[in-house]
Protein backbone atom coordinates (compact mmCIF):
# COMPACT_ATOMS: atom_id res chain seq x y z
CA UNK A 1 0.00 0.00 0.00
CA UNK A 2 1.47 3.32 -1.17
CA UNK A 3 0.32 6.56 0.46
CA UNK A 4 1.45 10.07 -0.31
CA UNK A 5 1.37 12.40 2.69
CA UNK A 6 1.07 16.19 2.29
CA UNK A 7 3.01 18.19 4.83
CA UNK A 8 2.40 21.88 5.61
CA UNK A 9 3.83 24.85 7.44
CA UNK A 10 6.64 24.36 9.93
CA UNK A 11 6.44 20.56 9.50
CA UNK A 12 8.04 20.91 6.06
CA UNK A 13 11.21 21.97 7.87
CA UNK A 14 11.29 18.54 9.49
CA UNK A 15 10.41 16.51 6.41
CA UNK A 16 12.37 18.71 4.04
CA UNK A 17 9.58 18.59 1.46
CA UNK A 18 5.85 19.16 1.02
CA UNK A 19 5.07 15.52 0.21
CA UNK A 20 6.32 12.27 1.68
CA UNK A 21 5.71 8.88 0.02
CA UNK A 22 5.12 5.96 2.38
CA UNK A 23 4.97 2.25 1.64
CA UNK A 24 3.12 -0.28 3.82
CA UNK A 25 0.74 1.87 5.88
CA UNK A 26 -2.93 0.86 5.80
CA UNK A 27 -4.25 3.34 8.35
CA UNK A 28 -3.34 6.67 9.89
CA UNK A 29 -1.81 5.15 13.02
CA UNK A 30 0.60 3.23 10.80
CA UNK A 31 1.28 6.38 8.75
CA UNK A 32 2.24 8.29 11.88
CA UNK A 33 4.42 5.46 13.22
CA UNK A 34 6.35 5.28 9.96
CA UNK A 35 6.69 9.06 9.73
CA UNK A 36 7.91 9.38 13.31
CA UNK A 37 10.50 6.71 12.69
CA UNK A 38 11.72 8.45 9.57
CA UNK A 39 11.52 11.98 11.11
CA UNK A 40 12.06 11.69 14.88
CA UNK A 41 11.49 15.46 15.40
CA UNK A 42 7.84 14.94 14.39
CA UNK A 43 7.25 13.29 17.76
CA UNK A 44 7.66 16.58 19.59
CA UNK A 45 5.62 18.60 17.10
CA UNK A 46 2.01 19.72 17.31
CA UNK A 47 -0.18 18.78 14.36
CA UNK A 48 -3.47 17.20 13.37
CA UNK A 49 -4.12 14.73 10.56
CA UNK A 50 -6.61 15.32 7.75
CA UNK A 51 -7.92 12.57 5.48
CA UNK A 52 -9.67 13.79 2.37
CA UNK A 53 -9.72 17.35 3.73
CA UNK A 54 -11.41 16.43 7.02
CA UNK A 55 -9.54 16.44 10.31
CA UNK A 56 -9.70 12.98 11.87
CA UNK A 57 -9.78 12.23 15.57
CA UNK A 58 -9.37 8.47 15.49
CA UNK A 59 -7.46 5.89 13.50
CA UNK A 60 -8.68 5.87 9.87
CA UNK A 61 -8.02 3.47 7.00
CA UNK A 62 -6.12 5.05 4.12
CA UNK A 63 -5.22 3.90 0.62
CA UNK A 64 -3.45 5.36 -2.37
CA UNK A 65 -6.48 7.40 -3.45
CA UNK A 66 -6.84 9.17 -0.11
CA UNK A 67 -5.48 12.64 0.54
CA UNK A 68 -3.60 12.42 3.82
CA UNK A 69 -2.18 15.61 5.31
CA UNK A 70 -0.27 16.70 8.40
CA UNK A 71 -1.39 20.14 9.59
CA UNK A 72 0.52 22.13 12.20
CA UNK A 73 -1.39 24.81 14.19
CA UNK A 74 -3.12 27.24 11.83
CA UNK A 75 -1.95 30.83 11.67
CA UNK A 76 -3.90 32.49 8.89
CA UNK A 77 -5.47 35.94 8.89
Amino acid sequence: MFVEIMVFGQLTEITGSATVALEGAADTDAVLRLLQTRYPRLTGSRYVVAVNKKIITENTKVGNTDAVALLPPFSGG
Binding site: P72, F74, G76, G77
Partner: protein, 145 residues
Protein backbone atom coordinates in the same frame (compact mmCIF):
# COMPACT_ATOMS: atom_id res chain seq x y z
CA UNK B 1 -23.89 31.93 -3.91
CA UNK B 2 -23.17 29.11 -1.48
CA UNK B 3 -21.10 26.97 -3.85
CA UNK B 4 -17.39 26.49 -3.25
CA UNK B 5 -15.44 29.66 -3.89
CA UNK B 6 -11.73 30.30 -3.96
CA UNK B 7 -10.87 32.73 -1.19
CA UNK B 8 -7.16 32.94 -2.01
CA UNK B 9 -5.46 35.77 -3.84
CA UNK B 10 -1.77 35.92 -4.72
CA UNK B 11 -0.11 38.84 -2.95
CA UNK B 12 -1.70 41.57 -0.85
CA UNK B 13 -5.34 42.64 -0.94
CA UNK B 14 -5.29 46.11 -2.38
CA UNK B 15 -7.44 49.07 -1.44
CA UNK B 16 -8.74 49.53 -5.00
CA UNK B 17 -10.09 45.99 -4.95
CA UNK B 18 -11.88 46.71 -1.67
CA UNK B 19 -13.39 49.87 -3.17
CA UNK B 20 -14.61 47.90 -6.17
CA UNK B 21 -16.18 45.25 -3.92
CA UNK B 22 -18.01 47.93 -1.95
CA UNK B 23 -19.13 49.68 -5.11
CA UNK B 24 -20.63 46.47 -6.49
CA UNK B 25 -23.19 46.48 -3.67
CA UNK B 26 -24.80 49.79 -4.54
CA UNK B 27 -27.45 48.10 -6.67
CA UNK B 28 -28.44 45.79 -3.80
CA UNK B 29 -30.79 48.29 -2.25
CA UNK B 30 -32.02 45.91 0.44
CA UNK B 31 -28.66 46.34 2.15
CA UNK B 32 -28.51 48.79 5.06
CA UNK B 33 -25.16 47.87 6.61
CA UNK B 34 -21.75 46.56 5.62
CA UNK B 35 -19.14 45.30 8.04
CA UNK B 36 -15.56 44.89 6.88
CA UNK B 37 -12.57 43.39 8.61
CA UNK B 38 -9.07 43.86 7.23
CA UNK B 39 -5.98 42.10 8.49
CA UNK B 40 -2.77 44.08 8.03
CA UNK B 41 0.72 42.64 8.47
CA UNK B 42 2.22 44.18 11.59
CA UNK B 43 5.90 45.09 11.87
CA UNK B 44 6.26 43.33 15.22
CA UNK B 45 9.59 43.13 16.93
CA UNK B 46 10.65 39.62 17.96
CA UNK B 47 13.89 38.94 19.83
CA UNK B 48 15.08 42.39 18.79
CA UNK B 49 14.38 41.76 15.10
CA UNK B 50 11.68 43.44 13.08
CA UNK B 51 9.11 41.51 11.05
CA UNK B 52 9.26 42.83 7.49
CA UNK B 53 6.56 40.57 6.07
CA UNK B 54 4.66 37.30 6.32
CA UNK B 55 4.75 34.52 3.73
CA UNK B 56 1.42 32.70 3.64
CA UNK B 57 0.85 29.14 2.46
CA UNK B 58 -2.33 27.09 2.69
CA UNK B 59 -3.89 23.73 2.06
CA UNK B 60 -6.08 25.56 -0.43
CA UNK B 61 -8.61 22.87 -1.29
CA UNK B 62 -9.32 22.08 2.32
CA UNK B 63 -9.43 25.76 3.32
CA UNK B 64 -11.93 26.56 0.56
CA UNK B 65 -14.14 23.65 1.61
CA UNK B 66 -14.00 24.71 5.25
CA UNK B 67 -14.76 28.31 4.28
CA UNK B 68 -17.83 27.09 2.42
CA UNK B 69 -19.05 25.46 5.62
CA UNK B 70 -18.42 28.63 7.61
CA UNK B 71 -20.22 30.70 4.98
CA UNK B 72 -23.23 28.39 5.05
CA UNK B 73 -23.31 28.53 8.84
CA UNK B 74 -23.28 32.34 8.72
CA UNK B 75 -26.17 32.54 6.25
CA UNK B 76 -28.05 30.07 8.43
CA UNK B 77 -27.43 32.01 11.63
CA UNK B 78 -27.67 35.62 10.46
CA UNK B 79 -29.94 37.45 8.06
CA UNK B 80 -27.22 38.33 5.55
CA UNK B 81 -27.46 39.63 2.01
CA UNK B 82 -23.92 38.71 1.04
CA UNK B 83 -20.53 37.73 2.31
CA UNK B 84 -17.08 37.79 0.71
CA UNK B 85 -13.76 36.55 2.06
CA UNK B 86 -10.27 36.94 0.57
CA UNK B 87 -6.99 35.72 2.05
CA UNK B 88 -3.54 36.39 0.66
CA UNK B 89 -0.97 33.81 -0.32
CA UNK B 90 2.72 34.49 -0.86
CA UNK B 91 4.81 37.17 0.78
CA UNK B 92 2.95 40.17 2.19
CA UNK B 93 5.02 43.09 3.42
CA UNK B 94 4.36 44.82 6.75
CA UNK B 95 1.68 47.46 6.23
CA UNK B 96 -0.01 45.49 3.45
CA UNK B 97 -3.39 43.77 3.79
CA UNK B 98 -3.61 39.96 3.99
CA UNK B 99 -7.27 39.37 4.89
CA UNK B 100 -10.55 40.95 3.73
CA UNK B 101 -13.86 39.82 5.24
CA UNK B 102 -16.95 41.66 4.01
CA UNK B 103 -20.52 41.03 5.18
CA UNK B 104 -23.67 42.92 4.16
CA UNK B 105 -27.17 42.77 5.60
CA UNK B 106 -30.38 44.76 5.83
CA UNK B 107 -29.56 45.64 9.46
CA UNK B 108 -26.30 46.35 11.20
CA UNK B 109 -26.35 43.71 13.93
CA UNK B 110 -26.35 40.80 11.48
CA UNK B 111 -23.57 42.30 9.35
CA UNK B 112 -21.37 43.14 12.36
CA UNK B 113 -21.85 39.84 14.21
CA UNK B 114 -21.38 37.69 11.11
CA UNK B 115 -18.19 39.55 10.18
CA UNK B 116 -16.67 39.12 13.62
CA UNK B 117 -17.67 35.46 13.89
CA UNK B 118 -16.29 34.73 10.42
CA UNK B 119 -12.94 36.30 11.33
CA UNK B 120 -12.71 34.24 14.52
CA UNK B 121 -13.73 31.03 12.80
CA UNK B 122 -11.44 31.37 9.83
CA UNK B 123 -8.43 32.07 12.01
CA UNK B 124 -9.21 28.92 14.02
CA UNK B 125 -10.40 26.62 11.24
CA UNK B 126 -8.64 27.36 7.97
CA UNK B 127 -5.44 25.45 7.19
CA UNK B 128 -3.33 28.52 6.46
CA UNK B 129 0.17 29.19 7.77
CA UNK B 130 2.10 32.40 8.10
CA UNK B 131 5.86 32.51 8.24
CA UNK B 132 7.16 35.79 9.61
CA UNK B 133 10.18 37.08 7.72
CA UNK B 134 12.64 39.13 9.77
CA UNK B 135 14.77 42.01 8.58
CA UNK B 136 17.87 39.78 8.69
CA UNK B 137 16.06 37.21 6.49
CA UNK B 138 15.64 34.75 9.33
CA UNK B 139 12.06 33.70 9.96
CA UNK B 140 9.72 32.21 12.50
CA UNK B 141 6.30 30.64 12.17
CA UNK B 142 3.41 32.83 13.21
CA UNK B 143 1.24 31.71 16.12
CA UNK B 144 -2.38 32.88 16.24
CA UNK B 145 -3.58 34.21 19.56
Amino acid sequence: MHSKKNIFVQGPVDAAFIAESIQQHSNKTGIGAHSIFLGQVRADEKDGKKVIGIAYTAYEDMANEQMTLIREAMFEKYKLTCMHVYHSLGQIASGQLCLFVFTSAPHRKAAIDACEETVERLKAELPVWGREIMEDESFQWKINQ
